[in-house]
């Protein structure tokens, strides 16, 4: 029994220790050092908490931090509202639901980098379909991704296109698993459509909404692939997000000590955010 226990759990434990815990420990260690390379060998010079102290003054990190918050709030907020509306609509149809669902989940399966490629073409100034359509309604063509005023909004719109289907799918599954009795009781009492939504659907759906929201928020904070092709963080720092700042400092500039400190800080922030989101959600759930 003891042997088979370890034989079945061992591989997962080993994998997580070697490829999860070890790199994280390494990251933590590196973050307190300055790394210099000479003749293919790395030298670690202790830097105390110097790397961490330098973080707040980093203009790129500031831009990344600010944009990530705008991006996450805008994109996830939009996705939740649209996804919930879509799930409500879809849950009311009986014929064709499977077909609608098949179409709606398509974007989830497309590689992020290809989403970037698709929308780079769609938003192209000269021939993009978006400018062709806005031209039809008499608007001037815009350089959506190259203009500081529209770049972040465009990236958010692309992310909404990409991930609304995911919110839709999880929320639809939630709606499909709701008990039917409260609705029948409401019908007998003559409740309106809005009352049904406000007093039955929303409270019952609170856990599913919370889980979907937390899930999405975590992924939104990691956004990298789409932005890599769409704007590369530009113009200037208009669409600079945290993952991109990390990528630039850690890999493009090879500042391992400083980049590691940034990574640790981002990880810490992410965990904090999730804890806050979940506990706020729990409280509102209890109040409802």
């Amino acid at each position: 029994m003891r042997l088979s226990r370890w034989a079945t759990f061992g591989p997962a434990l080993l994998l997580m220790l070697v490829l999860g815990v070890l790199p994280l420990a390494n990251l933590f260690y590196t973050s307190f050092h300055t790394v210099t390379w000479a003749a293919g060998k790395a030298t670690f010079t202790p830097a105390g908490i110097g790397n961490y102290l330098a973080l707040p003054a980093d203009p790129l990190l500031r831009a990344g931090f600010f944009n990530t918050i705008v991006f996450a709030v805008g994109a996830v907020g939009g996705q939740m509202v649209l996804g919930f509306g879509l799930a409500l609509l879809c849950s009311r149809v009986t014929r064709g639901r499977v077909l609608y669902r098949a179409v709606f989940i398509l974007p989830i399966l497309i590689p992020g980098i290809v989403i970037g490629a698709i929308w780079k073409l769609m938003l192209n100034f000269d021939f993009g379909l978006v400018n062709q359509i806005t031209d039809l309604v008499g608007m001037d063509p815009r350089n959506w991704l190259g203009d500081r005023q529209t770049a972040l909004a465009s990236v958010i719109a692309v992310d909404i296109w990409h991930w609304t289907p995911f919110c839709f799918l999880l929320l639809l599954a939630g709606l499909e698993s709701l008990p039917q009795d409260p609705y029948e009781a409401a019908k007998i009492d003559g409740a309106s459509w809005w009352q049904e939504l406000r007093y039955i659907t929303l409270p019952l759906m609170a856990p599913a909404i919370l889980v979907t929201f937390a899930f999405r928020l975590v992924i939104a904070f990691k956004v990298f692939d789409e932005i890599y092709l769409l704007t590369g963080g530009g113009p200037v720092t208009a669409t600079e997000v945290l993952s991109f700042t990390l990528f630039q400092r850690l890999f493009t500039e090879d500042r391992e000590g400083y980049g590691s400190a940034m990574a640790v800080a981002i990880i810490f922030l992410c965990s904090l955010l999730l804890v806050v989101a979940v506990s706020v959600g729990r409280r509102s759930e209890r109040a409802a």
Partner: protein
């Protein structure tokens, strides 16, 4: 029965959303069949050409066939590895009487791990694979994708494994079945649909993964997303070829969506509902 007008409105709204989702994909896929001039002048009707596809697949400037093969290797290998490890561990944690704290600490860690930006770990993975001399093989990336998808697989397989009736396993034990026999002849057949759902998602996520692949691959080992990014940056104005490459790269996802929608939906929603 609901009345006619609300129903019509519902379908109209859903079809409109379907169009918003499908039109960009169709537009780009058809752009792959256009000539550059046809795309730039915005002709609505055009005579389809295959030049972009032949250029992307067989020319000297792109290695798309190689990239496709690489993605297939990494995707399949990491899927098989991830599913094996995750199913064993999920079953072990659910049924072999581990102390509660072991289960909580391990699954808690998996949840935290799932939240980390993969880029934060890519540097350490690269150093590690170079230290053991695997930096120009697929092993590093396969292991990286395995561990990246492990939390999701553990979670999903945990749900499916717990659905297997405990009485069946106990009955087999009483009849003298070994751990391996129980796994092979009772657990495995019963979690097969769950495995399918998990396999499709793991494969698709590995196929799509970019940030880690970018840092762990070289020219010969580059996967499809890495190749597309490089192509887009090197030849920014070859729009129609980029469209052709984009179309080719979503092919596996389309096939999986057509044959396995049921499993994909099940996999994606299982974690949230339970």
């Amino acid at each position: 029965m609901s009345r006619l007008w609300p129903r019509l409105f519902t379908h109209a709204a859903l079809i409109a959303v379907g169009a918003i989702i499908l039109v960009p994909v169709i537009w780009v896929v058809t752009a792959g069949f256009r000539t550059q001039i046809s795309l730039l002048t915005g002709q609505f009707l055009f005579a389809p050409v295959l030049a972009n596809f032949t250029e992307v697949l067989f020319s000297k400037t792109s290695d798309f066939l190689v990239n496709y093969r690489n993605s297939m290797i990494v995707g399949s290998a990491s899927t098989v590895l991830c599913l094996t490890v995750a199913t064993l561990a999920a079953w072990s944690l659910a049924r072999l009487g581990w102390p509660r704290w072991v289960v909580h600490v391990f699954l808690g860690w998996a949840l935290l791990f799932q939240m980390l930006p993969p880029l934060a770990l890519a540097g350490a993975w690269y150093t590690l694979s170079r230290a053991v001399g695997l930096d120009n093989s697929f092993v590093g990336l396969i292991l990286a994708h395995t561990v990246l998808n492990l939390p999701m697989a553990l979670w999903l397989m945990g749900v499916f494994v717990r659905e297997v009736p405990l009485e069946l396993e106990e009955a087999a034990r009483i009849d003298g079945a070994s751990t391996f026999t129980v796994l092979r002849h009772i657990v495995l057949p019963l979690v097969a649909p769950g495995l399918a759902a998990c396999a499709i998602l793991t494969f698709v996520f590995s196929w799509n993964e970019f940030a880690v692949a970018l840092n762990l691959t070289m020219k010969q080992t580059a996967t499809v997303p890495v190749a597309i990014a490089k192509f887009a940056q090197d030849f920014e104005i070859r729009y129609t070829q980029m469209a052709a490459a984009a179309g080719l790269s979503i092919l596996p996802a389309l096939v999986l969506l057509l044959i396995g929608q049921r499993f994909i939906v099940r996999g994606l929603t299982q974690g949230a509902v339970k």
